[in-house]
Amino acid sequence: MGRYVLRRLLQMIPVFVGATMLIFLMVNVMGDPVAGLCGEQSCDPATAAQLKREFGLDKPLWQQYVTYMGNVFTGDFGTAFNGQPVTELMATAFPVTIRLTIVAVFFEIVIGITLGVVTGLRRGRPVDSGVLLATLVVISVPTFVTGLLLQLLLGIRWHWIRPSVRYGTFDELIVPGLVLASVSLAYVTRLTRTSIAENKRSDYVRTAIAKGLPRHRVVTRHLLRNSLIPVVTFIGTDIGALMGGAIVTERIFNIHGVGYQLYQGILRQNTQTVVGFVTVLVLVFLVANLLVDLLYAVLDPRIRYA
C-alpha cells in the first residue's frame, strides 16, 4: 500500500510539470499582456518596456518558465497586474470555491445516490421512469439556464434567496451548489441505478437474503457498498471538474471564487494568475484521483494494491 502510494506520487511529477508547461505556453501564445493594460490606447513605449522587465516578460519563454517554477517551489506564485500577490488571490478564492464544491458534492451524494438506490430497487416502476425522465431533462438543460431560472424564480419572484452571493458562506451557496451539482447529480443517479439494478440479481445478494438478513442491511451493507465503485470514481474526478468548471455558476451568482479569478485572469491575459490557479487545480485533480483509487480498496476488499 505504502509503495503504491509512493509510486503514484512520483508519477504525479511528470504530469504536473507537463500540465503547467502546457498552460504556460497556451497563455503566452495569446500575446503580449502589457498591451491590454492601458485601456483603449497603447502604453507609452518606455512604460511598456519597464513593465515587461518587471514582470520578466522580456526574457525568452523557457527562462520565464524555469524562473516561474523555481518561484512556485518556494511558495511565490508571482503578482497579478493589480499589484496583489497571486497567493493572496488564492487565499480569498479557494475557500469559497471549496465550500461551493462541498455543497455540490453533498447534493450529489445525498440526492444522487438516494435517487439511484430508489430507482435501482424499483426498476420499471413509475418512480423509476419519473426520475429517469427528470434526469434526462436536467442533463439536457445547460447550467446557465438552470442557474438563471432559479435566480429569477427564487431570488426575484418569490424572494426566497438573495439572487447574488456576497460573503460566500455555506448558507448563501446552497442554491448555487445545487445548480452546479445538477448535471453531475443526474449522472450519479443513473450510475447508481444501473449498478444497483445489476448487482441486485448477483449471487451474494441472494445469499444475504437467504441468510435472513433484514432488507435494509442487505441494501446498505452488501448491495450499495459493491455498487458504489463506479459512482465513487465519478464523484472523485468530478471534484476537480467542479472546482475548475464553476466559471458559469460563479458568474451568475456573483461568487468570487476560482472560476471568477480564472475568467478575469484570462481576459486580462494575466499569466501569473492563470498558471498559478491552474497549477493548484491540477494538484487537486491528481490528489482526488489518488484518493479515489485508494477508496476502491476500502469499498471492495478484493482489490489490493502492491
Binding site: L152, W160, V219, H256
Partner: protein, 544 residues
C-alpha cells in the same frame, strides 16, 4: 421503503436550508453591510491597476478616485465645465508659463495640510519612468518630461524641471510648448495632490488610499468590496449628502442588475445590453440615460498602403455613408447611443467645440452615393472589408454585424463586409500596437477631460499616443499647434474645429455614435445623476 425516507429527509434538508437563506436575506442589505445610516450600495468592478491617481486609466478605479480626491480643477457634473476647486488662480501671460495659487484650508482626510508641495511631489511621482505610472504621458507637456521619462534608456532626472515650488501656496509650471487649454486639463485625476504617507509608506497607502475628497475609505477588501464613509471634515462645498457608499464587486453586470431588481443593491451604473429592452418596465423612472464623453469610431490602418493611397478617402467616405447609424442606435442600442455627426461629443457643449452636423453629408445614410463613391475610389482594398473587434466585452459583435449588413446592403454584395473577432481585449490591443491590422478596426475614445483638444490631438496628431492607425496630415498638425497656442478659448475652439474639418475631408476615422452612460437605481435613492464621464455623482445622492 428506506429509500423513500432518505428522499424525504433530503427534501426536508433543502427546504430548511432554503428557509435559513431566506431569513438571511432579511438583514444587512441596503444598509451596505451593516454600516448603518444612509449608506447606499453600488455595483463595482475590480480595478485593473493599483489605485494610484497616475496609474488608473479605467472607469472602475476612476470611480473611487473621483470620490476620494479633489484636484486644482473640478468638472461640473452637469455642464462638464472646468471650475477652480483647490486652485485659487491659475494665471499665464503666454500659454507656456503658468503660476498656480492654491486655496487655504484644504487638508487630506488624515489631517495633513495640502500645500504646493503636495501637488509638485505627486506630479513628479506620476511622471517618473521608475514608478511605472500608466498615465505618465499626461505630464508630457511639462518641461523636462523627456528627462524623467525618456522613450528609451534610463531616466536622467528625478523631477520635472518645469515645476517649481515658490512658497507653501504657490508653484509655477513651465510647459515645453504653448498649450492654452492646460489649466482645464488639471481636473483629471492624474493631477491630484498626494499626502506624504503615499511616499513614506507606499504599501500601506495602496492597501487603503488616503485622499482629500468628500469620502474617505473606511475599509477595502480587494476584489470584493470597498466601504467609503462620508468625511465629515471635508472642507469643500460639495460634501456628501449621504453617509457613505459601499462598492460591491460583481462578476457580471447581469447579476448586479438582478440584485437591483431584487432590492439588494441600490445603484447599477452599467445596464447590460440584453436588459435594455426591459429596463423601462423594470425600473420606470429610475433609469438614467444621459450623454457621456465617449465616441465610437471605425479606424483605419494607414501603415497599410492600400488604405493610404490617393482616392482611398473616397472609399472611406463612401463606407461612412453606407452605415445606417440611426437604425443601429435605435434597434441594437435602444437609444443609449446617438448617431454621430462630428468627431467630438455633445458633453462639450457648443462653447466647448461640439458642432453637430460638422460631418455633413459624409455621415448621412445614402446608399446610392455610397456605392458610387466607393467605386470611384477604386473599391474596397482587397475586395472585402474585415472589421476587427474584441469579442469579450460590450456588445461589439452585434453592432459590427449590423454595420456590415448595412454596408453589404448598400453595395448589393452579401460578402463585401464581415466582422473579424479577436478573443480578448488584450490581444486586440496587442495587434493594434504591433500594426498588424490589415483592415479597419473598432475604436472607442473616452475623454480624459472635457476639451475638444482631447478628442482630436491624441487620436489624429502625427505620432500621438492613441493614433492607432498612424494617420498623419501636415495641415491637421499645424492647425492643432495653432489652436493650442491661441490664448482666447473661443478662437482656440474655432481653430480646433478647422482641424476637425481636415479629419472630415480625409475621413481619417468614421464617426459612428456618441455613447451615453446608463444607470438604474432603487427607490431608496433620489438625486441620482451621471457626470460626463458616465460615473455616478455619488456625493449628491440622497438616501431614504
Amino acid at each position: 421503503m428506506r429509500g423513500f425516507a432518505h428522499v424525504r429527509w433530503a427534501a426536508g434538508a433543502v427546504a430548511t436550508a432554503l428557509a435559513i437563506t431566506s431569513c438571511g436575506g432579511g438583514w444587512g442589505w441596503g444598509g451596505g453591510g451593516g454600516n448603518g445610516g444612509a449608506v447606499l450600495s453600488s455595483s463595482w468592478g475590480d480595478p485593473q491597476n493599483p489605485l494610484e491617481p497616475a496609474n488608473t486609466n479605467e472607469v472602475q478605479g476612476g470611480k473611487v478616485l473621483d470620490m476620494i480626491f479633489r484636484g486644482l480643477k473640478k468638472y461640473d457634473p452637469r455642464t462638464g465645465r472646468a471650475q477652480d476647486w483647490l486652485a485659487r488662480s491659475i494665471v499665464t501671460r503666454d500659454s507656456r508659463h503658468f503660476t498656480v495659487r492654491i486655496k487655504d484650508g484644504w487638508t487630506f482626510s488624515d489631517g495633513e495640510r495640502i500645500t504646493a508641495r503636495s501637488f509638485v511631489d505627486a506630479w513628479n511621482y506620476g511622471a517618473s519612468l521608475r514608478n511605472n505610472q500608466k498615465n505618465a504621458y499626461f505630464f508630457g507637456y511639462i518641461d523636462g518630461y523627456d528627462q524623467v521619462h525618456p522613450d528609451s534608456g534610463t531616466q536622467r532626472a528625478d523631477t520635472l524641471s518645469g515645476l517649481k515650488v515658490l512658497d507653501d501656496r504657490t508653484f509655477t509650471v513651465t510647459l515645453n510648448q504653448k498649450f492654452s487649454g492646460f489649466p482645464d486639463t488639471l481636473g483629471y485625476v492624474a493631477f491630484a495632490p498626494l499626502p506624504r504617507v503615499f511616499f513614506t509608506d507606499h504599501a500601506a497607502w495602496v492597501r487603503k488610499p488616503v485622499g482629500n475628497g468628500p469620502y474617505a475609505i473606511a475599509s477595502y477588501t480587494k476584489g470584493a468590496q470597498m466601504y467609503l464613509r462620508k468625511w465629515d471634515g471635508y472642507p469643500g462645498p460639495d460634501s456628501a449628502r449621504n453617509d457613505g457608499v459601499t462598492l460591491l464587486v460583481y462578476t457580471d453586470s447581469n447579476t448586479a442588475y438582478t440584485d437591483l431588481l431584487a432590492g439588494n443593491l441600490d445603484l447599477v451604473d452599467d445596464i447590460p445590453a440584453a436588459q435594455l429592452k426591459n429596463v423601462g418596465g423594470d425600473l420606470g423612472g429610475r433609469y438614467i440615460n444621459s450623454p457621456a464623453g465617449i465616441i465610437q469610431t471605425i479606424a483605419f490602418p494607414y501603415y497599410d498602403k492600400a488604405w493610404n493611397r490617393p482616392g482611398a478617402e473616397k472609399v472611406r467616405t463612401g463606407l461612412s455613408m453606407a452605415i445606417n447609424r440611426r437604425q443601429i442606435t435605435d434597434t441594437i442600442f435602444r437609444k443609449t447611443r446617438t448617431p454621430a455627426t462630428d468627431w467630438t461629443s455633445p458633453v462639450l457643449g457648443a462653447d466647448g467645440g461640439f458642432k453637430p452636423g460638422l460631418c455633413g453629408a459624409a455621415c448621412d445614410y445614402d446608399p446610392a452615393r455610397a456605392k458610387k463613391l466607393i467605386e470611384d475610389g477604386g473599391g474596397i482594398p482587397g475586395g472585402r472589408l474585415r472589421i476587427t473587434y474584441n469579442a469579450d466585452s460590450g456588445s461589439h459583435k452585434e453592432w459590427i454585424d449590423a454595420v456590415c449588413n448595412s454596408i453589404n446592403n448598400a453595395l448589393g454584395n452579401d460578402k463585401a463586409c464581415v466582422g473579424n473577432p479577436v478573443g480578448t481585449f488584450a490581444d486586440f490591443r496587442n495587434r493594434i500596437g504591433q500594426h498588424k491590422m490589415t483592415g479597419p478596426f473598432r475604436a472607442g475614445w473616452q475623454m480624459d477631460y472635457p476639451l475638444i483638444q482631447n478628442f482630436l490631438q491624441p487620436l489624429y496628431y502625427t505620432g500621438a499616443s492613441s493614433n492607432d492607425g498612424k494617420w498623419s496630415n501636415g495641415d491637421f498638425d499645424r492647425l492643432v499647434d495653432r489652436a493650442n497656442a491661441e490664448t482666447r478659448p473661443a478662437t482656440s475652439v474655432a481653430v480646433f474645429q478647422q482641424a476637425e474639418k481636415v479629419v472630415r475631408d480625409n475621413m481619417a476615422a468614421i464617426p459612428l455614435w456618441y455613447q451615453n452612460g446608463s444607470a438604474g437605481y432603487s427607490d431608496r435613492l433620489s438625486d441620482v445623476a451621471l457626470n460626463p464621464f458616465s460615473v455616478p455623482v455619488y456625493n449628491e445622492i440622497k438616501v431614504g
